[in-house]
Symmetry: C2
Subunit: 354 residues, 2 copies
DNA sequence: CTGAAAGCGCTTACAG
DNA sequence: CTGAAAGCGCTTACAG
């Protein structure tokens, strides 16, 4: 009957008095446990009707306080600007919603300060689970979570003190390299471009690259692996240097990550003639990148399965501390539309633990 | 001294007893109001020390319940898969954080059911403000917010019952069209591609397109405006039809939105020869799209200013119901790197209210 | 200078 | 079949 309060809407107390019953009865009815409490069907229906009429929504914060659960699911990512993280986020949201959790995704700009601050905030909100994606050093963050009893999993870059889920970096890099080397003469040069020094994902991908070259007896020299970082500009500059001073320009390029590929695109835009006949492989996927009129193969990480694997782990109560689940990616060749893509499974994606 | 509890860490009660003082004192000290309560400096320091030692973090849910504020800031977006929404999200996060609010961004897949459900959930969490971005019909959602006293603003698509912030669609479309028509003979055909029938943004952009054509006395026929929707496939199909049956193929193309541009890229990938010499303009921006070796101009919406305008409105307490703030976008010509871009302001971005 | 107490809006034994 | 009461972890008048 009464209009909603100045703030936050109707309370259960107001609802109870409007329905002419006690607070407990309302609570039982609303939470569906009224049969067990042998509440009259008529009473239940009446309460429900009044609730609807007053447009009652329980205050989740009070509910959470009392029940010691928040119904919140937390996730941090470096940013939102590529398909890999966008895909992780959307999968996360969908899995969270399926479990009636409100997904809270926050980006942290790869800044350790912000990462720490955001994780602390989310933990203080008592999120029920936490996904930590794309963080270089997840272990301090894992500790923050675990200290307050929040289960967390690392995605993309693993950590020793909880469960982690990563792409099959070695297998993926091998497949890309295999494709690059096909039909390449052994004197033709193949380059690995992008990624960081002493970083898990790059280490793995370089080792896949090297392994495949070795298997094909394709020579690789020290200067052929350019870990110039992930930024577009750094990749572009590395390419400038490479093509400027080399008497033996590369015939094939394995680009590590879509951001480095952005740098390649910039270089190509500036010097189209230099890279016209270079074979290209990229460890990541983007619909526009896939449309560039170049001989390109891209690799799409399986974000859906990665996130599903996280939630499977959340759902079960088992430990698996330090374990790493390895998810095979997919090669994307040919038609640039995601749905219509020629997909090729990565063979023998053998799980391995660091 | 004591280790954190099984769940949720130390409580203020535990902290008080460990510090040998009362709960109130602890609370005053922690919230910085201890000077006003004339608490001894020594006591304050001691409490702080113990808090640090026990790694105390106040339970935000209890705090929020008591103080009637959540410290949460809500936002909904259709998805995370393009730079426009990614930019809006990152700006939103940054503005929210500057105000000590936890940003909660949830994507809703342009599905009205999900939109409603998510807004209800966020409102039930008593978010302190709400940004509703890219929603076709924001008014029911506005009502949900307002009914519970949550201030909300619409971004991208306006609504009548609150404040809204949109890009200068008319001015932006005019600038793109002006660029397209430059040097085009009047018998050469120019096409508007993408967007929906009877949708605010498309209506505005089409009217900007028509206005500029008229101003230049460039003829436009009925079949030259193809509102085929936003999906890549729809755009691709529209292009197939256009180029198949037309005896007079288009010389210039204004593509409405980056998703429609994806469809163009697919078409181009399939029929490179057909569009080699077509001038291209796109109402949106993407770094890879900007690298395509085509004669292209892109328009970058000013996400930062759009979100800043929302927060300015949140900060002040004024009404401005039904008002629409119009934010000028920027033309992006030439160098594909975002930071190095040749930027050109859109002239006379005159605010207009629907 | 500090503490005991009420109360934010819920849930859930417990008593009848 | 239903209600009164305790308590989740905080903040803040109020009393001393």
């Amino acid at each position: 009957m009464t209009k909603a309060n100045r703030k936050g809407g109707t309370t259960i107390r107001e609802l109870a008095s409007a329905a002419g019953t006690s607070i407990s009865t309302v609570s039982f009815v609303l939470n569906g446990s009224w049969r067990q409490h042998r509440i009259k069907e008529a009473t239940a229906e009446h309460v429900l009707a009044v609730a609807r009429q007053m447009d009652y929504q329980p205050n989740q914060r009070a509910r959470g306080l009392r029940m010691q659960r928040s119904s919140l699911a937390g996730m941090i990512v470096p940013h939102h600007r590529n398909r890999f993280f966008a895909g992780l986020i959307e999968s996360f949201e969908s899995e969270a919603r399926q479990r009636s959790l409100v997904p809270i995704v926050v980006s942290t700009q790869r800044d350790h300060e912000i990462e720490t601050q955001v994780v602390e905030t989310l933990v203080a909100q008592q999120v029920e689970l936490m996904v930590i994606a794309g963080v270089r050093d997840p272990e301090p963050l894992n500790r923050l979570c675990l200290a307050r009893g929040v289960r967390c999993v690392n995605v993309d870059l693993p950590g020793a003190n909880t469960f982690s889920v990563v792409t099959d970096n070695v297998g993926g890099a091998r497949s890309l390299t295999r494709w690059l080397l096909d039909g390449l003469a052994s004197r033709e040069r193949v380059i690995f471009l992008g990624g960081r020094e002493s970083e898990y994902a790059t280490d793995q991908r370089v080792s896949g690259f090297m392994a495949e070259c070795q298997a094909r007896s394709h020579p690789v020299e020290a200067g052929d692996v350019l870990r110039c970082g992930y930024s577009p500009l750094a990749a572009k500059n590395a390419l400038e240097t490479l093509f400027a001073k080399s008497d033996r320009p590369p015939s094939a390029l394995l680009v590590n990550s879509i951001t480095a590929f952005e740098g390649f695109a910039m270089f190509w835009h500036a010097h189209p003639e230099l890279v016209r006949h270079v074979r290209l492989a990229c460890f990541d996927w983007d619909p526009f990148a896939a449309c560039l009129p170049l001989d390109t193969v891209m690799l799409r990480q399986d974000m859906e399965t990665m996130i599903a694997t996280c939630f499977e782990w959340f759902d079960r109560a088992d430990e698996r501390t330090g374990e790493v689940a390895v998810i095979p990616p997919r090669l994307m060749i040919g038609d640039p539309s995601e749905s219509l893509l020629a997909q090729e499974a990565i063979p023998n994606a053998d799980p391995h633990q660091p």
